[in-house]
Amino acid sequence: MRASATCPKCGAVVPADAPAGLCPQCLLAAGLAESSSQAGLAESSFKAKAAPGEQPPGSEKEPVTTDWPAGAEEPPRRPADISEPPGSVIAGRYQLLEPIGHGGMGVVWRARDVRLNRDVAVKFIQADRLANPAAVHRFTSEAQVTAQLQHPGGA
């Protein structure tokens, strides 16, 4: 396999099987409706994902989701700090309790999963990071690893 190139647009490694040698994620981003990217920017620049604190036996691993409002040729802009008020319910199930940390990519909240009645950590990724598929990938991978580490069946 030949060495993969780097996408000049987003900086991610372009896989060897990319169509026409172009970054497939940026190609998909270019398909977003212009109005949609604007709406995504206005409505949900942040999207919650949860790393489970404890899971009921037999439950599935927490699905990891990331939002992707950008698409378009200009990445979204939003202040770096998040301003969700405590008590807000994210994704219809995670009630934010208190912020417990922040880092280069976003803010972590202690939250309550009201659907499964358990404590979780909800991490927000900054909107401008969402314009970078490599950052989204890192964010998602980190969440997956975290979810595995905190599973009660784990070491």
Binding site: P8, P15, P19, P24, Q25, L28, G40, W68, V136
Partner: protein
């Protein structure tokens, strides 16, 4: 997939299942199967030991689809065609393995040749992706390749092969490594004209991509959601 076909992927499958399909629809269904051969192959390849068996099983799956035997036993849920096809394939594999265990194989079934798909086959890259993740990733790549191929054919038909080849990288927009000014002279165009041509190319590409995706989801309102989902699947 012929772009002139007015119906959706769902329409083709449902018509086939209900034996309402015209010869044209049958042909379109065959093209549909060829188009989505690669994601299904990649999925099956991750579930069996070798590529030959994966090819056989992929062909057998589409043979059943085209013979409509399998479709009659499935109740398609409106939604993503991608998810439906994966579920159908999983069902097919379960049945196949159950049958194989019972009969120790050797049914002497005649497989339909899908040679045109074979020459497009790509072996999935080595990774730790699950079969389902590989399927979705290949689905996204196939979708993009289909749309880019159609776009290129359109430009070639208009005598603009060189223009397409030069402007293709601008599908991602202008960036530091590639400027309109840099390609204007070789194309014999002004920078402004190149910028306008690239903008037209991106607009046509976006429309084709959205049109193709719209055929695989329940309605046009789901296109952006599907785009985001496929985007995520490529990041795995």
């Amino acid at each position: 997939m012929p772009w002139s076909t007015p119906t959706t992927h769902w329409g083709l499958v449902l018509a086939a299942a209900e034996r309402r399909s015209s010869p044209q629809a049958q042909q379109a269904l065959e093209v549909l199967c060829q188009t989505y051969w690669q994601p299904l192959y990649a999925y099956i390849r991750r579930r069996v030991a070798d590529s030959v068996e994966a090819q056989d099983l992929t062909q057998a799956f589409f043979t059943e689809i085209l013979d409509k035997k399998y479709l009659r036993s499935v109740t398609p849920q409106r939604g993503r065609f991608r998810a439906f096809l994966l579920t159908a394939c999983q069902h097919f594999l379960s049945k196949h393995w159950a049958r194989a265990r019972a009969q120790k194989r050797g049914g002497g079934r005649q497989l339909l040749s899908l040679d045109c798909a074979a020459d497009k086959r790509r072996e999935p890259l080595a990774s730790d992706r699950t079969p389902e993740q590989e399927y979705e990733r290949q689905w996204a790549l196939t979708l993009l390749a289909t749309v880019l191929g159609h776009l290129e054919r359109e430009y070639i038909q208009e005598g603009k092969r060189e223009l397409f080849a030069t402007l293709k990288p601008f599908l991602l927009g202008e960036h530091a490594g590639l400027t309109y000014a840099a390609v204007a002279r070789p194309l014999g165009m002004t920078e402004a004209a190149v910028k306008m041509a690239a903008s037209r190319l991106r607009r046509r590409y976006r429309n084709l991509l959205r049109s193709q995706i719209a055929q695989t989801v329940a309605g046009p309102e789901a296109v952006d959601d599907e785009l985001r989902h496929l985007f995520t699947s490529l990041g795995r």
